[in-house]
């Protein structure tokens, strides 16, 4: 295990055999169960000034080491991004949120990542850095599949940029787990929408744990425009949601359950 103190040292350590430890709430578990597929652990523990949330005017920037707890207690996030609050509150326990980081959650690339779902809804951008420089990738282009990202050898995720959205939008999130806390999502749904005269002016909707990655429900989003916020719309969109999701069966739940529940989660939003 190595402990780089600044970005230069960090980039020096990154190679095809390294893995970054940023919080460790996933890696420590994986290491115990089946071992890590890496000979070198690069800990971000000693890296300076990398746990901040910066207000950049039209967006906020969350640096790599920022923990969930830090995000939860940030005033700007509280005011502008309720969805981020709602999703992060559902992650693990206080102890896990004190250690776990949003960036770690992104690179872990689990379809069940609660924080990631919020980033899909917020059209977040990831700033990726390497010795060669910097590139910016949209979250849905970054995550390719379970545990699979667009991160190349020598690169790390430096920060997350979240564009500010309308203060008037409604935010909604519901997660189904095996129990209330300390549970990985079996299915989840989040949405950000604005109504005008009870009609959808816009809608963003995303589902977790029902496909290889978190997914945005583009078709539902398009369908909803101009529709009334009522039971009829709920039923139509709920049916569409069941067709949209592509869940698998695993030890936590069956694909049938996940499909049914994806539809029901849409109904719940209209209640």
């Amino acid at each position: 295990m190595v402990f780089p103190r600044d970005e230069e040292e960090l980039l020096e350590q990154l190679d095809e055999n390294s893995i970054i430890l940023n919080g460790g709430t996933d890696i420590m578990v994986r290491n115990r169960v089946k071992g890590l597929n890496a000979s070198k652990i690069v800990s971000l523990d000693k890296l300076q000034d990398m746990d901040k949330i910066i207000d950049e005017g039209d967006a906020i920037r969350i640096l790599a080491k920022t923990t969930y707890s830090q995000i939860l207690s940030n005033k700007t996030v509280q005011q502008l991004f309720p969805i981020l609050q709602m999703t992060i509150r559902e992650i693990g326990s206080t102890q896990i949120r004190n250690r776990g980081t949003l960036t770690g959650n992104i690179v872990n690339a689990s379809p069940a990542g609660d924080g990631v779902l919020a980033l899909y809804l917020l059209d977040a951008l990831l700033v990726i850095r390497s010795k060669e420089g910097e590139r910016t990738v949209r979250i849905d282009n970054f995550i390719k599949g379970p545990g699979n990202t667009a991160l190349e050898v020598g690169e790390y995720v430096h920060s997350v940029i979240i564009p500010k959205c309308s203060k008037h939008a409604a935010h909604y999130f519901k997660k189904v787990g095996q129990r209330k806390a300390m549970a990985i999502s079996i299915a989840s749904m989040g949405a950000i929408y604005t109504l005008k005269k009870d009609m959808f002016l816009n809608l963003k909707m995303a589902f977790g744990s029902v496909a290889p990655t978190v997914i945005r429900a583009d078709e539902i989003e398009a369908m909803a425009l101009g529709m009334e916020f009522n039971e009829t719309t709920a039923t139509i969109l709920s049916q569409k949601a069941k067709q949209t999701v592509k869940p698998i069966s695993d030890v936590r739940a069956s694909s049938e359950y996940r499909k049914e529940v994806a539809g029901n989660l849409v109904l719940g939003m209209f209640e």
């Binding site: 578990v29 169960v33 519901k174 189904v176 095996q178 129990r179 209330k180 806390a181 300390m182 549970a183 990985i184 079996i186 299915a187 030890v251 936590r252 739940a253 069956s254 049938e256 359950y257 049914e260 529940v261 029901n264 989660l265 109904l267 719940g268 209640e271």
Partner: protein
């Protein structure tokens, strides 16, 4: 003075747990904390195939592995190569030609210089085997197309037959006959501390086994038999035990045996501590039980006849299964006065982990069935659900479903009455109806259950049902108590101290209850079956009563009054006629020492004789019964099938509350564990018989977030042979929970739940079915 008009000094007082501070501060010594010089670490190599015949074992690669000291196989077993306390059909180490009955069967034991190196080497043990088609399903096992041991998979069949039990005739005079089929799946004990033992060759040149366990005498017997040495050469000392719940009844023997075999061969201390994954894969679970019920009642709800057929999944080896399933048969007809009863319970082998003891011991599964039937009958007849239990409940002068005439007062009906009052039952039902009228996707439901539970080992376990105690008073007035029962978190030490304090008057802060040691107290049977307060408690009481006679004599001599005049006060003895003539407990202890009185005594309590007809399953099943009633309020999210238990009203007849805070702890903990069974804890296997849910990330047990609000009512209907009237509470705390929760969910969704755990998958399907 308590409400029954008895003036107790210690009994019923709320006190801190004797060993509480050390547990909370983390200074208690658990098995993992113990180290001995020159110790080796043991890992188990398992067959990893569900069903087959072992052809050969190759340990060469394992032996050559880094840090390995030795690898033991069947050839290293000097004594009997079998384990199991009721059925000894569990080979300590398979030999070529043996049947492989489940993936966890033992093939070799690796001894290495560290636990990690031992585990790595264990993976390198190779076997050659003939694979056989496995049987995992209860019904398939019953068909006997694939047979695991002998010529049938049906290992046990117990019955209860009472009155008219001919299935054709027994329902003749009933106004309503209802049927139902139920399935209660596995449950894992999920104790905090995984299994662990250390075996050493001690100062006496005999074996001492330390470990986390419920039943030191089982371990003593098992180790002596497999090593082929006298029982006197095996001493077992229980270390502080971080939960057990039945999971450390027979199972610790299966780890003490490998450790002792290694210690025997290498003449070095040997330690075997499981990690969570190993523990979940290799240790016993609650038996999955399928049950079919037929109940006939009058139009006003009196039960006339009950028929139940149930099958339990024993797994690959018999071990404790027969005695567990015997408890199922005794409790399957419920806690009611029923004229005609016919119960058949079968136990079948399957190629899965051997099932065994778990808090409730085969009863929560059948109470789920019978109590679901009771709610359904009440609904059908439009009778109040507490009322239907009240009119059928047992009382003095009635007989249990096994024909046991109850000739002492019991608190069954009082638990129902008290819970009706405490829950404000009529109002509560109205509130739930109102809530449901106003909510579309969230529904609330109320569930009821009423149970009885036979305390101690019962008619089929009489040969083990006795317990001893050794008590001494030291010259400084402190007291040391040695019992054969174990503390595993349930509060036994505190209860024993309260009993001694009640008799002798000494404060419990001056009383120490030692870790059980088989060298000092005779075989006291297992610490199971909610029997410790009754059995060890009586033994302590008897010993203390002998000490009291000696101490009164000394006190009388000092105060110059007849010893009949001596009364026990708080930390003192005084003259009944002149309370000012008083001498402290400490002084009497000191004088007794000077006068060579020898302030030590043993106590021995054995079960009252029980008369039982095994063929008919009729008679006195248990020495006494504890009773309980639960009313549970749940909330169901109809969209996601998530269930939350909001409130519990639990009424328990404990005979006498000795350790009151201990009882509250048991009731809360037991309920939550039963709630885990009803709602959250699912064990899944793959199609090769390997457990998939091998850690608490997929096997989800309740957390503090799931904790409901509790309202607890204690009923005291004293049992004449219990210490101060006490019965047992350890298991009755859990047993009513799954049934009451399932009934509450059924009420909320308006459909009948027929399986537990009520997984989200299953519940959403039931909700969606039109």
């Amino acid at each position: 003075m308590n409400k029954n008009g008895i003036n107790f000094k210690a009994v019923g007082k709320r006190v801190n747990r004797l060993e509480g501070k050390e547990k909370v501060c983390g200074t208690s010594k658990y098995i993992k904390d113990l180290e001995f010089e020159d110790m080796v670490y043991v890992a188990i190599a398992t067959a990893n195939v569900a069903h087959g015949i072992l052809k050969s074992i190759n340990v060469e690669e394992a032996k050559a592995s880094k840090g390995v000291v030795d690898v033991l196989t069947y050839e290293d077993v000097p004594g009997k190569n079998e384990m199991g306390d009721v059925v000894a059909d569990y080979p300590a180490l398979l030999k070529p030609g043996d049947k492989i009955a489940y993936v966890g069967d033992y093939v070799a034991f690796v001894a290495a210089e560290s636990p990690e190196l031992a585990r790595q080497a264990a993976k390198k043990v190779r076997i050659d085997y003939k694979e056989l088609p496995p049987v995992f399903d209860i019904d398939e096992a019953m068909r006997d197309k694939i047979v695991i041991h002998g010529d049938t998979n049906i290992k046990t069949h117990y019955v209860v037959k009472k009155g008219e039990y001919d299935p054709e005739k027994m329902f003749e005079n009933c106004d309503l006959v209802l049927e139902g089929e139920f399935f209660a799946d596995y449950q894992e004990q999920a104790y905090l501390e995984p299994q662990g033992v250390i075996a050493i060759i001690d100062l006496n040149n005999t074996f001492t086994v330390y470990g986390s366990m419920q039943c030191p005498y089982y371990v003593q017997n098992g180790v002596a038999e497999v090593l082929g040495i006298p029982y006197s050469d095996v001493r077992v000392i229980q270390t502080e035990t971080g939960g057990a719940f039945g999971g450390k009844e027979d199972v610790p023997t299966y780890f003490a045996v490998p450790a002792a075999l290694v210690a025997n061969k290498l003449k070095r201390p040997a330690k075997l501590c499981l990690d969570r994954e190993e523990d979940l894969q290799l240790t016993s679970k609650r038996h999955p039980i399928k049950s079919r019920y037929k109940v006939g009642v009058t139009d006003y709800g009196r039960i006339r006849a009950l028929r139940c057929e149930a099958i339990g999944d024993m797994g690959g080896h018999g071990t404790l299964s027969p005695i567990v399933l015997w408890r199922s048969v005794v409790h399957a007809a419920g806690a009611y006065d029923i004229k005609n009863v016919s119960v058949d319970v079968y136990g079948v082998y399957t190629n899965k982990v051997p099932c065994g003891a778990y808090r409730g011991f085969g009863s929560p599964q059948v109470f789920f069935g019978v109590e679901s039937m009771m709610d359904q009958i009440a609904q059908e007849l439009k009778i109040d659900r507490l009322h239907i239990r009240q009119i059928n409940a047992l009382e003095k002068g009635k007989t249990t479903p096994t024909g046991h005439l109850l000739n002492e007062d019991i608190g069954a009906k009082e638990t129902i009455t008290k819970i009706r009052e405490r829950s404000d039952w009529e109002q509560l039902q109205k509130e739930v109806d109102d809530f449901n009228k106003n909510h579309k996707y969230v529904k609330r439901g109320l569930g009821v259950s009423h149970i009885h539970y036979g305390v101690a080992l019962g008619a089929m376990g009489q040969r083990l049902d006795a317990s001893g105690a050794f008590v001494q008073v030291f010259k400084d007035g402190t007291i040391g108590i040695q019992i054969g029962g174990t503390e595993m978190g349930q509060g036994a030490k505190t209860t024993m101290a309260l009993i001694a304090s009640e008799i002798l008057g000494q404060d419990i802060s001056k009383i120490r209850v030692y870790q059980p040691d088989t060298a000092f107290v005779p075989d006291s049977g297992p610490t199971v079956a909610s029997r410790t307060t009754l059995f060890s408690g009586n033994a302590v009481k008897l010993a203390c009563e002998q000490l009291l006679i000696k101490m009164k004599t000394v006190a009388a001599g000092h105060l110059n009054v007849p010893k009949e005049n001596i009364v026990v006060g708080e930390k003192c003895f005084y003259d009944h006629d002149n309370p000012d003539a008083c001498i402290s407990f400490h002084e009497v202890a000191q004088m007794s020492d000077t006068e060579n009185e020898g302030l030590s005594a043993t106590g021995w309590f054995k079960t009252p004789k029980l008369h039982w007809d095994v063929e008919k399953g009729f008679g006195e099943a248990y020495v006494t019964y504890s009773f309980a009633t639960n009313v549970v309020l749940v909330e169901v999210d109809m969209l996601t099938a998530h269930v939350q238990v909001l409130k519990v009203f639990a009424g328990h007849d404990v005979g006498r509350a000795i350790n009151l805070d201990g009882i509250y702890g048991q009731v809360q903990g037991g309920f939550v564990q039963g709630m885990g069974y009803a709602l959250y804890e699912v064990l899944k296997h793959d199609d090769k018989g390997h457990l998939l849910t091998t850690n608490f990330n997929t096997l989800t047990i309740p957390t503090i977030q799931e904790m409901p609000e509790f309202e607890i009512e204690i009923v005291e209907a004293p049992f004449s042979k219990g210490p101060f009237g006490a019965k047992g509470i350890g298991e009755p705390s859990l047993i009513p929970a799954p049934a009451a929760i399932a009934n509450a969910v059924s009420h909320a969704i308006g459909k009948r739940i027929t399986q537990i755990p009520i997984t989200k998958d299953y519940l959403l399907k039931v909700i969606s079915e039109s």
